[in-house]
């Protein structure tokens, strides 16, 4: 169930197969690539080719490739199903932005998503039962497409049966539009929210006074121990850990300088030097990143903003929330992006509230000089994830259990105001693990249903997952013995990319009538 390991194993298998020396490995799937490959094979530049496709390839493509290989240079043609991006062992992404048009799938994206999801299933050797979110048409479509592929390629999916079959749960982002709108305080999520993680790389070029070799840094838990240990810790803990790291580093440094008298010292130094250098690289990287995060937090007054965000997301006190939002809108330190975000959260939460004062807030936004793009996005977000489309209730629980839960959540949330919010996914998965998830809301595809509690769960969120949810899944994995959960999404969102997703899906708000087309990318401030 480890996505990263699955891909790694594929790669090492490939390298092993092709043997030592320089060989050509290809990982293609698109028809376009097949055509390029055909051209290459007609006039080969290398003496031997090992071709690996990252997904199912059609028989006709194999045939046309074979016919192009007149010089008999191809030594291997295989399918290795690594057609997704493994972010963490339990998180994968397809890096697709704007997968839907309105409420329906963009056909190209649907097929791509189906391919990615089936590739994941194949690489993990899981032939799952499928459940989907009833309120979402696209979830149903995707479920059907995946099922279709499984039926079609039944030979491939013929794995050793486990006692409890694995489960694929397909959800829709529009059911929980709150989570991607919140500021995050755990390391990985925060870095993504404020700096943006793109395939494990973060772009620091906008950081003032950045040195040349830190323009773009790699944050990968695979080979950065500090990151692996700290990615799920919150900002305060990171701060103290960074301090420890620095101290540790500095303690080492002068020691190296002082005691270099004996041969043994020299030997130790030479042996430790690469390690020392690596550590200095880690230290400078994380210090820079955390420094930049804390600069942004201060500059954008994020502590205060986040507190109100959490209040909006987790509590039901309308008047206090409204008051706080108003107050922050007056604060000049709060950026227009954050201001718009607050109003979005307010709009989502108190959409149907009797004393809804959204229009007043919108005027405030306008007076503040927030660009029209953001103002339009407020209504677009409501349209995307408003009450009308939500299948489950995001804010006010109805039955006693849920109320108690929220009460308990409240008690627990006290520990940290900034991380009170638990994504809806937590609740959903919790019920799923306990076998209490309602069939009426999340029906099975096909006649078979799961009797036992599920053990291997793959959750896929159409419209993108978030790192907050990744953290939730991580914690669920750790707190529930015997349960393994993998989270995937068409992409991994931060607020900015989520808003882009909303825009790309065609929700442009009520003022879309003005012919102005919203530009996709935008500066944050």
């Amino acid at each position: 169930m480890n996505a990263v390991l699955a891909v790694k194993q594929y790669v090492s298998k490939m390298i092993e197969d092709s043997g030592p020396g320089m060989k050509v490995l290809l990982m293609d799937r698109e028809t376009e690539n097949v055509e390029f490959l055909i051209q290459e094979l007609r006039r080969p530049k290398y003496s031997i080719y090992f071709i690996y496709f990252s997904n199912v390839i059609s028989k006709s493509d194999v045939k046309s490739l074979a016919e192009a290989d007149e010089q008999e240079v191809v030594a291997e043609v295989q399918e290795f199903y690594g057609d997704y991006i493994a972010v963490n062992p339990h998180v994968f992404s397809l890096n697709l932005l704007g997968c839907c048009q309105g409420r329906n799938w963009d056909p190209a994206q649907l097929s791509r998503t189906t391919q990615g999801l089936t590739a994941l299933l194949l690489s993990l050797k899981k032939c799952p039962m499928i459940r989907y979110q009833l309120s979402s048409e696209s979830a149903k479509r995707l479920a059907e497409c995946v099922k279709q592929v499984i039926t079609k390629e039944y030979e491939l999916f013929d794995f050793r049966r486990t006692e409890v079959p694995p489960l694929l749960l397909i959800l829709d982002r529009s059911d929980d539009a709150i989570t991607p709108l919140l500021n995050q305080w755990t390391y990985q999520a925060m870095v993504h929210e404020l700096l943006g993680i793109n395939n494990n790389r973060i772009d620091l070029s906008r950081v003032p006074g950045i040195s040349k070799d830190l323009r773009e840094v790699v944050l990968s838990a695979e080979n950065d121990e500090f990151y692996a240990n700290n990615m799920y810790l919150n900002f305060a803990e990171i701060g103290s850990n960074i301090k420890n790291l620095m101290e540790d580093f500095q303690r080492r440094k002068p020691k190296e300088q002082q005691k270099l008298e004996s041969i043994a010292d020299m030997k130790a130094f030479v042996e430790n030097y690469p390690q020392f250098k690596k550590m200095s690289g880690t230290v400078s990287k994380h210090v820079t990143v955390v420094g930049e995060l804390s600069r942004l937090v201060g500059e954008r007054n994020l502590l205060e903003v986040s507190e109100v965000e959490q209040e909006l997301a987790c509590q039901n006190d309308h008047s206090s929330a409204l008051q706080n939002v108003r107050r922050l809108l007056q604060n000049p330190k709060v950026t227009e992006f954050d201001a718009a975000r607050l109003v979005m959260l307010y709009a989502l939460h108190y959409e149907r509230h009797s004393s809804n004062s959204l229009p007043g807030l919108m005027t405030d936004l306008k007076n503040r000089g927030v660009s029209e793009k953001y103002r339009k996005l407020v209504s677009a977000v409501v349209e995307y994830g408003g009450k009308r489309v939500r299948g489950s209730d995001l804010f006010s629980p109805k039955d006693a259990v849920a109320i108690t839960k929220q009460f308990l959540k409240g008690l627990k949330g006290v520990e940290n105001v900034y991380t009170q919010h638990q994504p809806l996914l937590q609740e959903t998965l919790d019920q799923l693990i306990k076998g209490k998830l309602k069939d009426s809301q999340y029906p099975y595809l096909g006649p078979n249903t799961l009797r036992d509690r599920p053990q291997d769960i793959i959750v896929f969120i159409i419209g993108g997952a978030t790192y907050e949810e990744a953290l939730t899944v991580y914690n669920l994995n750790r707190t529930n013995p015997g349960v393994r959960i993998i989270l995937g999404g068409t992409t991994i969102h931060n607020t900015k990319s989520f808003l882009e997703e909303v825009t790309a899906s065609g929700f442009r708000g009520r003022s879309t009538e003005s012919s102005q087309v919203t530009p996709r990318s935008s500066s944050r401030r």
Partner: protein, 774 residues
């Protein structure tokens, strides 16, 4: 949980802390347990709970707000507690998930191969068909054959499609008419218009056909002659044929074909070209490799010659060696030139080659230079003619010296032998009854043995002294040569000794029988009466009373002191062991000597052992380990039983090293040259006790086990230094690399630190060198 919540709802009289269920007030250990407890126990309870709960919620909110204020302090550790707690819950970190098998995969190779094979078969058949036809079409002399005849032949090769069947050109779709005539492909017989017609020139045809013939291995005549006379034929035929045939005449040196056939032929041509084409760089590189191989072959031969010539030997001819040297140098120059050529390949062409190509060229050049540097430096220079003469003379002189030394040695030996005889008596007296009653005289047997061995041993001894002299005079070449001689001598001696040993063991087996009988009788008496003497003799095997042994050793030592000749020898060997004097190669020599010399004195302890047969279960095996045993005392050859005795003493001394450390040995070896009179005296005694106790176990194996130790002894000291030096040098290299790296990436502070280190290291290295040289 320290930050656990004080119950906001409990009545003031009873304050309870921890996770209490709001309904039954049960104390639960953690949040999660409370959670699950609530769900299990109370989820079914009535809805009116809700009202109660709301009340609680209000209270909780108040408590929350209170807590919010101190959130700043709490945040950090609450998080870690949370983390800690979740650990205890038995779930698994996704990073720790158990390993999985590699994911699904599917091979299309068989499918692929099937399609490819079909395709290639088809293609090959097609090409072959066309080429066979082409060959038929070009096999006759086209230029001198009438066009009608040509046409007949062409039609016989492939049936032409009849004109009526094809009203339109199949390629471009134009209608055929008088002006747009039909043309037949000579290779497949199909019809096309003039526009779509392609032509195959005769040279191309011949190339294709000959290539395929070559491929088949049949070297028939290459092809029809190129038509040089075709101009004359033109007019004659034009009268016969129609307008179309006039058009035909234009290309009688070419063969018409359709586009399809032409494409196939062109592809085939391309393949042939590719097969024959080797890039320039590959050609040059192959040459380069060839040269390198040549060098690898010749260089060792040359080095052997040069060594021998430099040593003044006459095995090889100086001129011959010079020739070889020139030859090798030429190859080097060639390698250099070739690699330069590779480096500059394509540099002057207009589109510069790909950067990777250039890199490859640079790397080839680099490796070639490295090769030349490495090997060229290994070529030692030859002596000039004059020098060579000089060397030869010197060698002759050396040989003369050797013989002279041999005579001297004989005299010396004579003296020492007489001395040994005296000693032998003394010992005999001391050893008393055992020997006499046996009727087996160790002295005589030893002297007998030694007499036989004498010339060889003397020779060996001479040579070792020569080596020393040569070394003192810094004549390394001679040292080498002498060592070679020495080795040969030793080999021979070894052989002799093994034979003797076999003989000896046979003899011993006989004697053993006798000894055993007598021993049975005498053993007990001896244990009491002659404890002292017995002990001294058996100090190697079963020393019990160490003080007595010591005493005895003193006596031995005293006697030793009288033996001047022996002392002299001892001196030599001790000096030899001094590590600073010797190169490792030489150090091995004394070791070998030990090996060879041991056999002789062995007899003494041997007989002793035989007497203690009942005590010593290893006796029968004694011979074999003894062969390898190293008494570490080369002067044992002096044949006196006394010497052999002190030899045993020394041996036990050596054994004593085992439990101790190198330092002691160092002490010994370093101290030995200082005390010239008798270095044993001081050193032996302190070690005697442990030596004895060690020996009581299994003396023979122990003895042999010290052997390598002893040999390494000398090596160790200088070797250790060498290793340290090497290490230092390595580290200096490493640090240099780091400095370069740091400079490269502009980390000046690191550079400073590193240079500091480098200086430090160099200082240490200098110190080390001083130490090792003094």
């Amino acid at each position: 949980m320290a930050s656990g919540c004080p119950p906001p709802f409990g009545d003031p009289g009873e304050m309870r802390e921890g996770f209490l269920c709001p309904l039954c007030l049960k104390d639960l250990q953690s949040f999660y347990q409370l959670h699950s407890h609530y769900e299990e126990e109370h989820s079914s309870e009535d809805r009116d709970v809700k009202g109660q709960l709301k009340n609680l919620v209000q209270k909780a909110k108040r408590a929350k707000k209170k807590l919010l204020k101190r959130e700043g302090d709490d945040r950090a550790d609450s998080g870690s507690q949370e983390r800690y707690e979740s650990f205890s819950y038995g779930g698994v970190d996704p990073y720790m998930w158990e390993p999985q098998e590699v994911g699904a995969m599917r091979s299309h190779l068989s499918d692929f191969k099937k399609h490819r094979a079909a395709r290639i078969d088809h293609y090959v058949v097609e090409v072959n068909k066309l080429i066979i036809r082409l060959e038929k079409l070009t096999s006759f002399d086209r230029a001198n054959t009438e066009s009608a005849k040509i046409r007949a032949i062409e039609k016989s090769v492939v049936p032409w499609v009849s004109d009526q069947d094809v009203p339109f050109c199949p390629d471009c779709g134009n209608k055929f008419s008088i002006r747009n005539r039909r043309h037949h492909c000579r290779l497949c017989g199909s019809i096309m218009c003039k526009k779509c017609m392609e032509l195959v020139s005769l040279p191309l045809a011949s190339k294709l056909t000959s290539a395929s013939k070559e491929a088949l291995g049949s070297h028939t005549s290459p092809n029809s002659s190129p038509n040089s006379v075709h101009g004359s034929r033109r007019g004659s035929i034009s009268s016969i044929s129609s307008v179309s045939s006039v058009l035909d005449e234009k290309d009688d040196d070419r063969i018409r074909c359709c586009r399809h056939c032409k494409d196939t032929l062109l592809k085939r041509e391309q393949q042939i070209d590719e097969k024959e084409y080797t890039p320039e760089i590959v050609k040059l590189y192959e040459k380069l490799r060839l040269c390198m191989e040549k060098v690898d072959q010749k260089a060792p031969e040359y080095i052997r010659m040069a060594e021998s010539l430099n040593a003044g030997e006459t095995t090889y001819n100086l001129e011959h060696a010079n020739d070889l040297r020139v030859e090798i140098q030429k190859v080097y120059e060639f390698i250099d030139a070739l690699s330069k050529k590779i480096l500059s390949l394509g540099l002057h062409e207009d589109p510069q080659p790909h950067p990777k190509t250039l890199q490859l060229q640079r790397m080839i050049r680099y490796s070639a230079t490295l090769f030349v540097q490495e090997k060229l430096l290994g070529l030692m220079s030859l002596p000039t003619k004059d020098q060579y003469e000089e060397l030869k003379k010197r060698r002759l002189h050396m040989v003369a010296l050797e013989t002279h030394g041999k005579q001297e040695e004989k005299q010396k030996d004579f003296i020492s032998r007489s001395a040994a005889a005296v000693n032998g008596d003394a010992i005999h007296l001391k050893k008393g009854t055992v020997r006499k009653s046996e009727g087996w005289l160790p002295t005589s047997s030893i002297s007998r043995e030694s007499e036989i061995a004498d010339p060889l041993l003397q020779q060996i001894d001479n040579i070792t002294s020569f080596i020393k002299q040569a070394k003192a005079a810094n004549r390394i070449d001679e040292v080498h040569m002498l060592q070679e001689n020495l080795r040969q001598l030793q080999d021979e001696y070894d052989q002799q000794q093994t034979l003797k040993a076999i003989e000896l063991s046979k003899k011993q087996a006989e004697e053993e029988e006798m000894q055993r009988e007598e021993l049975q009788v005498l053993r007990e008496k001896e244990w009491e009466r002659e404890h002292h003497k017995f002990m001294s003799r058996h100090s190697r095997t079963c020393s019990l009373d160490f003080r007595e042994v010591k005493q005895h050793q003193h006596e031995v030592a005293k006697e030793n002191r009288n033996l001047t000749a022996q002392a002299l020898d001892l001196d030599i060997t001790q000096i030899k062991r001094d590590p600073s004097f010797e190169t490792p190669a030489v150090e091995q020599l004394p070791a070998k000597e030990h090996l060879t010399f041991t056999l002789k004195p062995q007899n003494v302890p041997q007989c002793d052992k035989d007497q203690t047969a009942c005590l010593n279960p290893f006796e029968d095996e004694a011979d074999t380990p003894q062969l390898e045993e190293d008494p570490a005392n080369p002067f044992a050859k002096d044949t006196s039983p006394m010497v052999s005795f002190s030899n045993t003493a020394l041996q036990s001394n050596k054994k004593a090293y085992n439990p101790f450390e190198n330092e002691e040995e160092d002490e010994q070896t370093n101290g030995a040259p200082g005390s010239t009179s008798n270095p044993f005296e001081e050193d032996e005694n302190p070690f005697q006790k442990p030596g004895g106790s060690w020996n009581s176990g299994n003396p023979f194996e122990e003895g042999s086990s010290t052997n390598p130790f002893e040999v390494e002894d000398g090596n160790d000291i200088s070797g250790e230094e060498a290793i340290e030096e090497e290490l230092l040098l390595q580290q200096i290299d490493n640090i240099k690399a780091y400095i370069f790296d740091a400079k490269h990436s502009g980390r000046m502070d690191e550079v400073e630190v590193l240079t500091e280190n480098l200086k430090e290291l160099k200082r240490t290295l200098a110190k080390q060198k001083e130490k090792s040289s003094c």
